[in-house]
Amino acid sequence: MKRILIVDDSLVIRKVARRILEGMHFEIVEAENGQAALDVCALAMPDGILLDWNMPVMDGLQFLRELRRQPAGGAPKVIFCTTENDVAHIARAVNAGADEYIMKPFDREIMQSKFREIGLC
């Protein structure tokens, strides 16, 4: 079973995303900011990461740059999932190493489409 790390400071978003992703037969781990997500990745690198942008302590973009610098940090597929939905933000995310991008609000169909796009289902 593939493991997905949900990184979001909103408990509600983490719950909604968890419900959808568990329905897609993923194992789920959660973190509430970028630093906590790095700690999770240091223990065991997930197969995929669903990543919010704006979070306290460490934001999503900082986390992604840190992750991609690590020896095994290139492996997880990363999908940004954020309310930042302008071209400039999307381009910055892709340039930093994001594989896909979800503009909130999302639904089950969008989530499935994006995870299919990156080859995790």
């Binding site: 071209v87 892709v94 979800i102 503009m103 969008i110 796009e117």
Partner: protein, 294 residues
């Protein structure tokens, strides 16, 4: 004493079902009266009719053309997405494109028909594919015609403006960035993509495009809504429009098997088929199905 049997007066739903089937081939299930009523109620109100029955009767009255078009627009299901189901587009790129590159090397010309294109995502997906493979088709003429019976769907397709949900279904972020611009929460496809597709309001069964000339026809998720008689008529029409060695792509749950024997169906994908060659044609052209497999 009259021997006449009791005469069944047609209801608004009978009239509607008959008119929609005659004009589009689409069969509305007999148990869908309630859902159809809720779909048509706003339309009846907008056109000043007291109820749906009057709206449906008007489909045969003096304002026939206008009302008919509005009802057809309201009844058509415009469910679609970019690169819908993905696999047909992969097959197109990996199996069909190489064959057409070889088969049309002399004419350097391809004609693609996205039939029942709804709001245009399929046609634009094809246009994006050809744009990404532009090097292969340098100097070629690639024509993409996209048609739909619904005028409003065609107008949406021509505008090429999609909402945030539509551009996230099936469309990779790399293509969103490359081919779309964002304004006021909507995403508009680039002008050079719009110019690659010609959208026309057409009814496949009544005034489809000219015959025998399309190298690929995508007619996905339309046949599903037809009865067996309609399916036969549709496949006959598509067969006529397809080049002798052309390809037909249907929806994931659709196949010519059991409906028409004029197509050679892929053993891997029942929705993918090639037009069968007649004896004279087969002497000058290689059978395509063999190449589709594998």
């Amino acid at each position: 004493m009259s021997n006449d049997k009791p005469h069944h007066m047609p209801t608004w739903f009978d009239v509607l079902r008959r008119e929609i089937k005659q004009s589009t081939g689409v069969v509305i299930d007999a148990d869908r009266a309630a859902s159809v009523a809720s779909r048509l109620s706003p339309l009846a109100r907008d056109h000043g009719f007291p109820d749906i029955a009057q709206l449906c009767l008007a489909m045969m009255g003096p304002r026939r053309a206008q009302i008919h078009r509005a009802v057809v627009d309201a009844m058509m299901i415009n469910e679609t997405s970019f690169f819908r189901d993905r696999l047909p587009f992969d097959e197109f790129r990996c199996k069909i494109m190489p064959q057409l590159l070889a088969a049309r090397a002399a004419s350097r010309s391809l004609r693609i028909w996205s039939a029942a294109c709804a709001t245009g995502q399929e046609a634009y997906s094809l246009a994006m594919m050809f744009d990404e493979d532009a090097r292969l088709f340098s100097g070629w003429s690639i024509e993409i015609l996209a048609t739909d019976v619904s005028q409003s769907a065609i107008e949406t397709a021509r505008a090429g403006v999609y909402n945030q949900f539509q551009v996230q279904r099936g469309l990779p972020v790399s293509q969103l960035l490359r081919y779309f611009t964002r304004a006021n929460d909507t995403w508009t496809i680039a002008e050079h993509m719009k110019s690659r597709v010609r959208f026309e309001q057409r009814n496949i069964l009544e005034n489809g495009p000219s015959t025998g000339s399309f190298d690929v026809i995508c007619c996905r998720n339309l046949m599903y809504y037809f009865d067996s008689e309609g399916k036969k008529a549709l496949l006959k029409r598509l067969h006529e429009a397809l080049a002798p060695d052309g390809f037909l792509l249907l929806g994931a749950t659709e196949t010519p098997l059991g409906v028409s024997d004029e197509f050679a169906v892929s053993s891997h994908h029942p929705w993918l088929s090639a037009r069968k060659l007649d004896r004279a044609q087969s002497q000058i052209m290689r059978p395509q199905l063999r190449l589709v497999r594998g």
